[in-house]
């Protein structure tokens, strides 16, 4: 297993390099102009100078190399320096990946936005899983019961109605009509006491609910299908023939087998959590990573878009690996060495 993991990790290096190159080339091909959003009164020569200053005059391989060094060498060194409160090498003059729009380091921007995304989107994924697994297990065990039918109906809705619709609907009902929850997420809110904690929970409630419903709809379907596959297996009959309680039969024997594919689906879904929340973050005005990406795209902020997209790619590759490893851990029949 360790061998397998190391081999796979090494293999991710060329994969990620290739991905970063493709992203870089695609963004370069796109008809983008970082000065496009500037006032029209600025003359063409000045615009040209601005482009030069941003390094756009250099050939493409120079720019790509620069980004590589900045992202893979300078940023990690900088991070290390910050953690250890020391200066590693030429820390003053080291070039970092810098946003064209704000002139601040992209990584700092991302670090600023990360907590909101993790709290809202991450929590909604966890809530979604916690709802979905028991529902999936019970609907499969009582297939075609009213509970199962209701679950199928709700998850069909959760699955097919887009989050921007449920989100807006929730805002209209709970913010505008009932005034229970705020419609805009306030990032400046600091949790210091009970009342601010209450406010934080209230402003998280709707986006978390909307995303959790969407996630739970998918995962509960997987869980149900996987349980149904296993409930008819011969080993379940053996477990019953041993005189085990239904609880043990279902929650130990069947669940353990059914979780194998579901866990991998959950792991593979994690990177999508970050990307897929873009819309919900817009709807609820949560200034997380999704929103940052949209701002970057609108402002033709290539370094920001490049870095964010690449980080999503890293997450996808990483969680693919994690899914494979989990599979090997959960299923003794799979041996990677």
């Amino acid at each position: 297993m360790l061998n397998f993991t190391i081999r796979r990790l090494l293999f991710t290096i060329p994969t990620l390099l290739l991905i970063s190159l493709i992203i870089f080339l695609l963004l370069d091909l796109a008809p983008n102009d970082p000065t496009g959003n500037l006032p029209l009164t600025i003359p063409a020569e000045v615009r040209e100078q601005i482009r030069k200053a941003l390094g756009l005059g250099d050939p493409i391989y120079v720019r790509y190399y620069r980004w590589l060094v900045q992202f893979f060498v300078n940023e990690p060194l900088n991070l290390l320096g910050e953690w250890t409160h020391s200066c590693i090498g030429d820390c003053e003059n080291r070039l970092r990946v810098t946003s064209w729009a704000t002139r601040s380091p992209v990584v700092d921007l991302i670090a600023e936005r990360m907590p909101q995304t993790l709290w809202v989107v991450g929590l909604s994924y966890v809530v979604g899983i916690l709802i979905a697994v028991p529902i999936g297990v019970y609907s499969a065990y009582r297939q075609y019961s009213w509970f199962d039918q209701l679950g199928t109906f709700i998850s069909m809705i959760g699955f097919s109605v887009p989050t921007f619709f449920t989100g807006v609907l929730m805002i209209v009902i709970f913010s505008v009509q009932l005034r229970w929850f705020p419609s805009i997420y306030d990032t400046t809110l600091r949790v210091t006491d009970w009342s601010s904690l209450g406010a934080q929970i209230r402003q998280m409630a709707m986006p978390v609910f909307v995303l959790a419903l969407y996630n739970a709809a998918q995962i509960s379907r997987f869980m149900r299908a996987s349980m149904l596959d296993n409930l008819n297996q011969d080993y379940v009959r053996t477990a019953r023939a041993k005189g085990l309680n239904e609880r043990v039969v279902v929650l130990v024997h069947v669940l353990r087998n059914s979780l194998i594919p579901v866990v991998t689906v959950i792991a593979l879904g994690v990177p999508q959590v970050f990307g897929g929340a873009i819309i919900t973050e817009q709807v609820f005005k949560v200034n997380g990573l999704g929103q940052l990406l949209i701002i970057g795209i609108q402002g033709a902020d290539i370094p920001l878009v490049q870095t964010l997209t690449f980080i999503f790619a890293v997450l996808i590759v990483l969680f693919n690996l994690i899914a494979d490893i989990l599979y090997g851990i959960l299923d003794p029949r799979i041996r990677y060495d």
Binding site: R237, R240, A241, K242, I260
Partner: protein, 341 residues
Amino acid sequence: MPDGAISDLVPILDVKGLKTVFSTRSGEVHAVNSVSFDLAPGELLGVVGESGSGKSVTMMSLIGLLPQPPAEIRDGSVIFEGHDILQMSADDLRDIRGREIGFVFQDPMTSLNPVFTIGFQIMEPLRRHMGMNRAAARERAIELLELVGISDPGPRLSDYPHQFSGGMRQRVMIAIALACDPKVLIADEPTTALDVTIQAQILELVRDLRQKLGMGIIWITHDLGVIAGIADRVMVMYGGQVVEQAPVHELFSNPRHPYTRALLETLPSIAGGRSKRLRTIEGQPPALSAQPTSCPFRARCAHAMAVCAQKNPPIERLAHRHDVACFWSPDNADNAGEADA
């Protein structure tokens, strides 16, 4: 064990009029039709019959192992130690399954849970029924694996089913079924997946255990040779019914039902020499879409009469412990016509 001794004992398992019906999309399947039989302590009852004759469904019905729905037990009683299993609460039934009645299933490749170790799966019933702690259960599990002939059992407890061969898995299944010293063992074709040597070893083991533990055994098989070797009594099933039932010598020397006779003729005999060709039973097994109103074997029967189409022959006792369900009798049959049949 001699016949006389067994037949005098009070049966440990007494099945009467068992009827099991499956509801499927294409209608009902009457898989078990009024099956009655009993089993004495220490007796080995062999069950034979072609594929689809309802052997497995009968045995699973009687300890409530069929998922309901689609299965439904319409009628019958299964008396085990004075209590009707079919009327028991689910909890009481669970105390009997695995503890008093052990079950070995037909398919060893899929009957073990792939994600738990063999040790865990053997120890489960021990901890559930015997209240053993981990250490005691482990000790007993090692003992059981030794009993079924798995060498070096200690380390093997932490192996997973896929690390065992088919034959070894079948032995593990037998070990699980025997774990709590049950009074009845139901073995559904436990040796069909095994090669002949292993099969012989398992048969030897069963013979041994029966003597040691005095356990009643129901042994389902297609192999009449095995039946001849180990059974005390034989039950022949056809189309979800018991068509003949007799002590083993009686059945082999004096088969009454045309199906039993045909079945015995399919046996290659060593004594009979080479000239005799292996025989097969012509025709298809009956459709089970309704309760039988005529003899289910009549379409394939050489002795079918008018009455066979009018009603289903009831099972009747002919001689001492020899039951048969047939209107025809070999005694008053035309012997000239029989010679080449």
